[in-house]
């Protein structure tokens, strides 16, 4: 697993209070990991801070699963 994927997983485990085994690439933040709309906003902000990127709102809407977050950040992280 890439270093980015490791960090993304760690952030999700920390913010959503879930077990590492639940954080699979297909897992949806809202449907599988118990996030509400505010949790999702917070996750995106943490990704922005950790990876020093700015994620526009229209792109943030497409980040709904662990895998989508990892591939977005692998593409855009500086």
């Amino acid at each position: 697993m890439s270093e980015i994927a490791e960090k993304v997983k760690a952030i999700i485990i920390d913010k959503l209070g879930v077990e590492a085994s639940e954080v699979t690439p297909e897992a949806s933040f809202t449907n599988d990991l118990g996030a509400d709309s505010l949790d999702t906003v917070e996750l995106i902000m943490e990704f922005e801070k950790e990876f020093n990127v700015s994620i526009p709102d229209d792109q943030a809407e497409n980040i709904g699963t662990v895998g989508q977050a990892i591939s977005y950040l692998e593409e855009h992280a500086k």
């Binding site: 913010k15 959503l16 209070g17 505010l38 906003v41 917070e42 902000m45 922005e48 801070k49």
Partner: protein, 417 residues
């Protein structure tokens, strides 16, 4: 329409002298001070470097991490105290109509810790706003009552009262009125505060309101002592379950006491200084006595506002003598803030619990830290100095006054079955 009777059927508390209602009471009758050097932040440069913190507080002892971090500490305290009271009153039993259970909470300040943290983070950034989405819901004072209702699915009236240090006496009276007027059958009420932060301590220091007795924190809160030099900041929460009398009887609830009256008034004098003549304080006690339908002579115990400030303590005592006349000498008077410190918006709630416990145990909690008589105060008054006193307490009054000139008094009566 006749007003319905309201009784207390549950108690909860998390305070600097005990982290449950029974532990809080034990702390009070033992005369234990909750004051100690501040641990929450580095107070080295502050004029006041001590406070009455809730000891060894760890939110993980009470909340799952995910839940706890979405609440400011003042809301955590609110839930801890409310949960204890709700369990004590068995409000989650089957048969309770949760549409008829409401929550009216009190907080003078709200989520100061969260406000401060977010502003500091912004100031340290490059001007890009990166405010946390939980910041506003954590900070706003009504998140306390909102979170209690969400946890227990209470769908009745729900809001928070804010009147500085009178906040939770006002929440108690509001809850009382909603039941009296048949707008709810049961109300979770109380108050919480958590302002032991840089901005809280620094702000109150700037007002010259707090004790600076850094060499002896445990002796700093000394209401009615000649050498008193200001209040000691406290934190925590207390909760009372108020319930319509027949509703409580029908389900066999434990009845601690009856809430028989409440009074409110304003000083209309100064934003922080008390009226030295105590006119607003006279009025609030008269209003409460009239609402309760009792005479001054019926009162046994007054848990005073008594914050240990030079001006405020004297004005309140003067007002008590005006309202109670000769009977003032027969009263037990005490300020439990000598032990807990001043919990600001939670003061009314924790002191209401103290009044009810005094009735239950026929024991008046003391005003500790009395060393030197204040020649300005009538020596024939019984301030319950230094040691708890045995006394049958049938009727107790709790006074709270807040910056802004808000005055509130509530009166409880023992219920004999």
């Amino acid at each position: 329409m006749s007003l319905r009777r309201v009784v207390v059927t549950g108690l909860g508390a998390i305070t600097p002298v005990g982290k449950t209602a029974p532990a809080y009471w034990e702390g009070l009758i033992a005369g234990r001070s909750g004051a100690a050097p501040i641990t929450r932040f580095d107070a080295a440069k502050f004029k006041t470097r001590f406070a009455c913190e809730v000891k060894d507080y760890n939110p993980d002892d009470y909340f799952e991490r995910k839940e706890g971090r979405k609440m400011d500490i003042f809301t955590q305290f609110a839930l801890i105290a409310a949960n204890e009271a709700i369990e004590d009153a068995r409000l989650n039993d089957e048969g309770i109509d949760k549409d008829r259970v409401g929550v009216i909470w009190g907080s003078g300040i709200g989520g100061l810790t969260s406000l401060q943290a977010e502003c500091i983070a912004f100031a340290h950034g490059d001007g890009t706003p990166r405010f946390n989405p939980f910041f506003i819901p954590k900070m706003i004072a009504d998140s306390a009552s909102g979170n209690i209702s969400i946890r227990h699915k209470f769908r009745g009236p729900n809001f928070v009262t804010t009147s500085a240090c009178a906040s939770s006496s006002d929440s108690i009276i509001s809850a009382f009125n909603y039941i009296r007027l048949n707008m709810a059958d049961v109300m979770v009420t109380g108050g919480s505060e958590a302002a032991i932060t840089e901005s809280g301590v620094g702000g109150f220091n700037a007002l010259k309101a707090m004790s600076e007795r850094n060499d002896a924190p445990e002796q700093a809160s000394r209401p009615y002592d000649k050498e008193r030099d200001g209040f000691v900041l406290g934190e925590g929460a207390a909760s009372l379950i108020l319930e319509e009398y027949e509703h409580a009887k029908a389900r066999g609830a434990k009845i601690y006491a009856e809430l028989i009256g409440g009074g409110m008034s304003a000083d209309a004098y100064h934003i922080t200084a008390p009226d030295p003549e105590g006119n607003g304080v006279v009025l609030v006690m008269q209003n409460a006595l009239r609402d309760a339908g009792i005479k001054p002579e019926d009162v046994d115990y007054i848990n005073t506002h008594g914050t240990s400030t030079p001006l405020g303590d004297g004005a309140e005592v003067k007002a008590i003598q005006k309202v109670f006349g000769e009977h003032a000498y027969d009263l037990n008077i005490s300020s439990t803030k000598s032990m807990t410190g001043h919990l600001l918006g939670a003061a009314g709630a924790i002191e209401a619990v103290a009044c009810i416990m005094a009735m239950q145990h026929s024991l008046v909690p003391p005003t500790i830290n009395h060393f030197t008589d204040d020649p300005e105060l009538d020596p024939k008054l019984n301030f319950t100095f230094n040691k708890a006193q045995e006394r049958e307490v049938n009727i107790a009054m709790s006074n709270t006054f807040g910056f802004g000139g808000h005055n509130t008094s509530v009166i409880f009566r023992k219920v004999s079955e």
